[in-house]
């Protein structure tokens, strides 16, 4: 590792100023960044520790009924925040698949998104829930869908000097459920061979009004299975419909074969995980799947 400066800003403005320094890299939990720096997979001249900026670590409900999660708020903090946990149980559960308790005490959803691993467990539901990234930079503040942040393995759409400050979750409709399922050979401390994060909203008739299917580890970035989503919208949930949606998602993803699994195996997993996650949502919305 080359020479490194450590900065500890205490306000967003100071953090943005630090991010303007040559070679600056944001440090949230550090569970990805520190091994990457040590192994030379990333290079930085300055690390900007975000954990002492209140706006970056707070979790708070917003006036519209949604939530704002500071980009560096730890997974442990999310799990212990009772109101947030009960509002977004599935999202917190997905984040609790990241590493061990030791890692979760440091790791954040903002870091999970910006590390841009295709296997990031916390990201599919962020996308499925329609989270928006609040990005600050020298040019001001902009909002972008969480989906637009990762652009490839380890790469994001953030420009140099920009900083992800918070994630905004929109309010939920009354009949809405979400769930992330992944497959790993080990139960804990493992990386998804494939994962599926889904959300369905139901209208007054019980038909699906909104569907989101977002897949992990089967493409260079988390994959929106838009054909599967289109197939679900307007329909009453049935076992057969969910099976079709799973099959469609399996066709839409672009997995590779690597040490964790072959492309064909991953497609099979996507079909099963998507169907099961959707069935779980339907069950929690009181739908009997015929």
């Amino acid at each position: 590792m080359n020479e490194l400066k450590y900065e500890r800003p205490t306000s967003v403005d100071d953090a943005i100023a630090c991010m303007g320094m040559a070679g600056a890299r944001a440090l949230a939990g550090g569970s990805d960044l520190i091994p990457q720096l040590r192994e030379g997979r990333r290079v930085a001249g300055v690390v900007v520790d975000l954990k002492h900026v209140p706006a970056l670590v707070e979790i708070a409900s917003t006036p519209d009924g949604g939530w704002r999660i500071g980009a560096a708020a730890s997974v442990t903090k999310m799990r212990r925040h009772e109101a947030f946990f009960s509002a977004h149980r599935a999202l917190v559960d997905s984040a609790c698949l990241i590493g061990s308790l030791q890692v979760q005490a440091r790791a954040s959803l903002g870091g999970n998104l910006c590390n841009a691993a295709p296997s990031a467990d916390g990201v599919p539901l962020l996308i499925a829930l329609g989270a928006e990234a609040e990005i600050h930079g020298p040019g001001g503040i902009r909002r972008a869908p969480a989906e637009a942040v990762p652009t490839g393995p380890g790469r994001t759409s953030l420009s140099p000097g920009e900083l992800l400050v918070a994630l905004h979750l929109p309010p939920r409709v009354k009949r809405s459920a979400d769930r992330y399922l992944r497959f790993t050979p080990r139960r804990e401390m493992d990386i998804a061979v494939a994962g599926a994060g889904v959300r369905i909203d139901l209208d007054d008739r019980g038909a699906i009004s909104v569907a989101r299917v977002v897949l992990a580890s089967v493409g260079p970035v988390p994959v929106r299975a838009k054909s599967a989503e289109a197939l679900l919208v307007g329909q009453l949930p049935t076992a057969r419909l969910l099976e079709y949606a799973g099959a469609s998602a399996a066709q839409e993803c672009t997995p590779i074969s690597d040490t964790r699994g072959t492309a064909a195996y991953r497609r099979d997993l996507v079909a099963v995980l998507t169907r099961r996650a959707l069935a779980d949502c339907a069950g929690r919305l009181g739908v009997f799947l015929s």
């Binding site: 450590y6 030791q102 890692v103 440091r106 804990e188």
Partner: protein, 159 residues
């Protein structure tokens, strides 16, 4: 670059001159001589270097030393009360929950953190709490039994 880190370590205010590239693990072992914290994988997979930072179990290899400035840190050296072992340590000895011993400091700290938050853990809670601590010797059963016994004894004392 060098920087001075001031932290409360095992109840004492300590200062260390560190390189900004040093991890908390390097600071503890190489600058402060607290070699009870072991280095395993150095990338957050094995949990061998687990310490408590402000009461939370953390991998000391996944934190820069500079991040620890102002923090309260507990290492394995701060767990026993003089020559009297902590109930978790004593139970590990009784159950044979330590063989080569390399993972033991991390296991003890994960168990202590669990008991602080959950005085009555069941087997699932215990296995989840040490899921981030790899042990290649014991097969875990004796460790789980030891932690269960220690938790039960501590709960009994409080009653």
């Amino acid at each position: 670059m060098k920087t001075i880190v001031t932290a409360e370590i095992n109840g004492e205010r300590r200062e260390a001159l560190v390189d900004t590239r040093d991890t908390l693990l390097a600071m503890l072992r190489d600058r402060l001589g607290l070699t009870g914290t072991k280095e395993g994988c150095s990338n957050g997979n094995c949990g061998t270097c687990t310490v408590l930072v402000n009461g939370e179990p953390v991998c000391a290899c996944l934190m820069f030393a500079a991040e620890a400035d102002g923090a309260r840190i507990t290492t394995i050296e701060g767990i026993a009360d003089g020559n009297t072992l902590h109930p978790v340590q004593a139970a590990l000895v009784r159950h044979g929950g330590s063989q080569c011993g390399f993972c033991t400091p991390g296991i003890v700290l994960s168990a202590v953190a669990l008991m602080e938050r959950n005085p009555d853990p069941n087997e699932h809670d215990i296995r989840h709490a040490i899921a981030g601590n790899l042990c290649r010797c014991t097969g875990y059963d004796k460790i789980v039994a030891a932690i269960a016994e220690a938790a039960k004894a501590s709960a009994g004392e409080r009653r």
